[in-house]
């Protein structure tokens, strides 16, 4: 059949030319199959049948030459068929009442049963709604009935040659005739028979299990008599060859003849036996068992059609109303059958093996795409894919379930696949387990692949060197230098051993990196913090204790790495100040502060205050009043970064500080530092503003006691005295620079806390700058001028004045 397009008209239909021979079954005079059959058919040499295409024109011919309409017997006949059907329809409509008896007469069937079905094509006609394609073969049946009265199917089929001869009332065919009819079938029977025969074997099996849900299908027993009766008197002689056709050779056929008839397929000549074994669906297993199913479906279809065609036969006895109802039911059934057919068309195409194979491939792809699911949210995943993991978790910060750590990725894919399967097939535990097993398997495989030591080098015994493997991902290393332990120590001497190198830039950077590494460890550790439980079990308590132990250890490491308590000589810069002099050191401060205790933070604050004049943002960042600001871009950047990264931390710390600490901090500044140096820098001024304003806030809250206040007042007075000479020089640049807002803020902070006497001195010191700014503001556009005046007003208002008064 290789050369035939199954979809082409005339080739797709499984027409069995010998189908109605069984009608002869009850005609006892007819030849019995055994009598006439010499078993020659089984001895046919079919080995080279594959070459038939070459002989009769196979693929090539069909591929190159389009099939003409000349051989479209089906199409041609169906035209005639349709015309006839229409005639019939007209006729039946005109004379519905006596139509039935008329049609019954020739049939000679006892109950007007079975054959009568062919007499009522018009009743089926209206039932065809949108499913014509499916019911295509129906016209055959009808037309047969109407023309030949007894020869269903055959006239309508393309290979109808034997059919016309059929009604010629000859009872038996000679062997030649049989052969002739066989030849007329050309290549078709040769190929189509085997599947049909298989179907026969399978049909019983299928009827038992597969199509049980189609109750409409009449069991063969019920059908058999009807057909037998139908074909009775007019039967065709080809009975002998009927055997392979499945539908009539159904088991348990009631007629005695067919009972005799029936065992034949199984008890044929021994040469057939192997075929039967193959046909036995119970023996066939796996893939081979599956193959016949397709023909089986196709066959099932024609079977249904037959049933459909037959049942309306009963309609003849019913009233019009009943007929209508019946037909309606018929339509519904047809639709349903069609649907079932469509759905089940591809059933069993894949074996469980195939399915599991596909599933495995898919899972593997998933795993390779998303990584091992088990490692999500674990250190491994973070190590492998840190940036992506964290970045996406940050981006997805507002996702519904914040408890899910970093990854919902694999769950989304791999795990849900399992769930979906489970949900879909609630009945079958099989598939579910299957998928689970698969997942585990894949996981194990991935795990094994990971754990397998990666042999990048092969040392062959007796060879002089190593052979390195390389591939696209890991190119062969040209240099293979292994750093020895001693080497790394030499490269990185502990700073305590060589204090001389403490200012070494490299060492400082290395120290900063160490701090970062510890920070990351701490942050990692934070993620593994055991969840706080309401009533912790001893086990959990143990965990918590262990966690805290590790956390403390890391904290100590960090503290050591910051070198806060490092003792330095008088001419050396403190390592932490060096640390702060690098941009990435400054950037580390917020993260460091987050993980440190309050006490540690206060220590750092003190340290920074003590070494304030050594900070890079103070030391090289003095500005002169009256001169244009000439700070390098690098210094400006440093100042910017410092006020962004470090100042807020210190400010937060100070905001909670007690008055004693504030007083102490200011005291340190007075005692240890050169106020003039500090006050001429932006960072220094900001720091002082911070301290003074904190004191003011405490004062307004009124929580501190008198003694502390006196201490503060004394310190403040000393500070003011120190500051006074510098006051007129703390403004950066000229009046026009417009970068002096922080100075006005500072002055305001002093002004609030100052005594009236001090306020007066303050005004005197900065009077010139105030007047200049006010004068300059008038020359500026309104909004800019107002901004300048507002800045000045910050200070003026703090001492109870206003720029308005000056104008």
């Amino acid at each position: 059949m290789s050369g035939h397009n199954m979809a082409a008209p005339g080739f797709g239909q499984h027409h069995d030319p010998f189908a109605d021979l069984s009608k002869y079954d009850d005609d006892m005079d007819a030849l019995e199959f055994e009598d006439g059959y010499d078993g020659l058919g089984d001895q046919l040499d079919e080995t080279d049948d594959a070459l038939n295409d070459d002989t009769f024109g196979g693929d090539e011919a069909f591929a190159s030459v389009p099939v003409g309409k000349d051989f479209d017997f089906f199409g041609a006949t169906s035209k005639v068929t349709n015309a006839m059907e229409e005639e019939h329809a007209r006729f039946t409509r005109q004379q519905p009442t006596f139509k039935a008896p008329v049609q019954h007469a020739p049939s000679a069937a006892p109950a007007g049963y079975g054959y009568a079905s062919h007499a009522y094509p018009p009743q089926i006609r209206p039932a065809r709604s949108g499913y014509e394609k499916y019911q295509e073969p129906e016209p055959e049946l009808k037309v047969d009935a109407s023309i030949w009265g007894t020869a269903p199917k055959q006239t309508a089929t393309p290979t109808a040659q034997p059919a016309p001869s059929a009604p010629s009332a000859r009872k038996f065919m000679s062997l030649e005739e049989v052969e002739a009819s066989l030849r007329a079938q050309a290549t078709r029977p040769m190929v189509t028979q085997p599947p049909q025969a298989q179907v026969h074997a399978q049909q019983q099996f299928q009827q038992q299990q597969h199509f049980r849900q189609e109750p409409e299908i009449q069991p063969p027993q019920a059908r058999q008599p009807a057909q037998a009766q139908t074909g009775g008197p007019h039967g065709h002689p080809i009975t002998i060859l009927q055997r392979p056709s499945s539908k009539h050779a159904a088991p348990n056929a009631p007629s005695p003849l067919s009972q005799q008839h029936q065992p034949q397929p199984q008890s044929q000549s021994p040469s057939v036996a192997p075929t039967q074994i193959l046909q036995n669906p119970n023996r066939a297993s796996g893939d081979s068992g599956r193959v016949p199913q397709q023909p089986a479906h196709r066959h099932q279809k024609s079977l249904n059609q037959q049933v459909q065609a037959m049942q309306p036969g009963q309609v003849g006895n019913l009233s019009e109303q009943d007929k209508a109802a019946f037909l309606e039911a018929e339509v519904r059934r047809a639709k349903r059958n069609h649907k079932i057919h469509m759905l089940s068309r591809d059933n069993g195409l894949m074996t469980p093996h195939d399915k599991s194979f596909i599933t495995r491939i898919q899972l593997q792809q998933l795993v390779s795409a998303t990584g091992d699911p088990s490692e999500y949210g674990t250190d491994a995943a973070l190590n492998e894919d840190f940036y992506y993991q964290v970045h996406s978790s940050l981006k997805a910060a507002q996702r519904p379930n914040p408890n899910a750590p970093l990854n919902n990725f694999a769950q989304t894919y791999l795990f849900q696949t399992g769930n979906r399967h489970g949900g879909m097939r609630r009945h079958g535990r099989g598939p579910e387990n299957h998928v689970q097993r698969m997942e585990q398997q894949v996981q194990r495989a991935v795990e094994a692949a990971k754990n397998k030591p990666k042999n990048k080098q092969l040392v062959i015994e007796g060879s002089l060197g190593k052979i390195s493997f390389s591939n696209a991902k890991t190119p062969k290393p040209l240099l293979n230098i292994k750093r020895t332990e001693s080497g790394s120590e030499a490269n990185r001497p502990p700073s305590s051993q060589r204090p001389v190198s403490i200012n070494d830039r490299k060492v400082a950077l290395r120290a900063i990196e160490d701090v970062y590494m510890i920070l990351m460890k701490m942050e990692d550790h934070e993620r593994t913090m055991p969840p706080p439980g309401a009533n912790p079990t001893p086990e959990v308590q143990q965990q918590v204790a262990e966690w805290h132990a590790v956390a403390d250890k890391l904290n100590n490491q960090l503290w050591d790495a910051l070198k806060i308590h490092e003792q330095v000589g008088p001419n050396q810069v403190h390592p932490f100040i060096t640390f702060l002099s690098h941009p990435k050191g400054k950037k580390a401060v917020p993260r460091v502060f987050r993980v440190l205790s309050h006490e540690q933070r206060t220590t750092i604050l003190t340290l920074i205050i003590v070494h304030l004049d050594q900070l890079d943002v103070v030391q090289g960042a003095q500005v002169q009043s009256g001169e244009p600001i000439n700070l390098s871009a690098g210094t400006r950047e440093s100042i910017e970064l410092f006020s962004m990264a470090v100042m807020p931390q210190l400010f937060n710390l100070l905001a909670d500080a007690e008055l004693q600490i504030v007083t102490a901090v200011l005291g340190i500044i007075i005692q240890r530092l050169n106020i003039d140096t500090i006050a001429r820098t932006r960072i220094g001024i900001s720091m002082l503003t911070m301290i003074l304003s904190r004191a003011e806030i405490i004062k307004q809250a009124g929580v501190a006691n008198e003694q502390l206040w006196q201490q503060w007042a004394a310190t403040f007075n000393t500070f003011f005295n120190h500051l006074e000479p510098t006051l007129s020089y703390i403004f950066p640049g000229t009046v026009t620079s417009g970068e002096d807002i922080y100075v006005w803020q500072f002055l305001a902070a002093i002004g609030i806390g100052a005594s009236p006497d001090e306020q007066q001195r303050l005004v005197l010191a900065v009077k010139d700058r105030v007047m200049d700014t006010v004068a300059m503001a008038k020359t500026l556009p309104a909004d800019m001028g107002k901004q300048r005046l507002d800045n000045v007003n910050l200070f003026m208002r703090s001492i109870g004045l206003d720029v308005e008064l000056l104008q």
């Binding site: 190590n383 840190f386 964290v390 981006k395 890991t474 750093r483 990196e513 970062y516």
Partner: protein
């Protein structure tokens, strides 16, 4: 199955976060192509969608091209959107990779 090298992993990790962002790829023949990053592989082959060529008067033949696959070896620069890169995080990621590698070297 061989683990990709450290910088490869980092690169991969990094570019994964940029997928579906607008990037501009500058090729070694000076063509600059802006488009939505669709995928990047280990060779830094790049797939871009909805592309537009910056100097399209000079390269009119590209004006009707909607998406491109760029071989990694011809890329000179990839201009990244500033706000799609978390610098601090990237620094940390780099440190981790360096640490991982140092561990392996031992």
């Amino acid at each position: 199955m061989c683990a990709p090298s450290a910088d490869e992993r980092l690169r991969n990790s990094f570019f994964k976060t940029l997928i579906d962002n607008q990037v501009t790829v500058e090729l070694k023949n000076d063509i600059q192509i802006r488009g939505t990053l669709k995928s990047v592989d280990q060779y830094l082959n790049i797939k871009l969608d909805d592309i537009s060529v910056l100097d399209d008067l000079k390269y009119p033949h590209l004006s009707s091209v909607k998406n491109v696959f760029i071989r990694g070896s011809v890329v000179r620069y990839v201009h990244l959107p500033h706000n799609a890169v978390d610098v601090t995080l990237l620094e940390d990621a780099t440190r981790r990779e360096a640490a991982n590698q140092a561990q392996k070297a031992k």
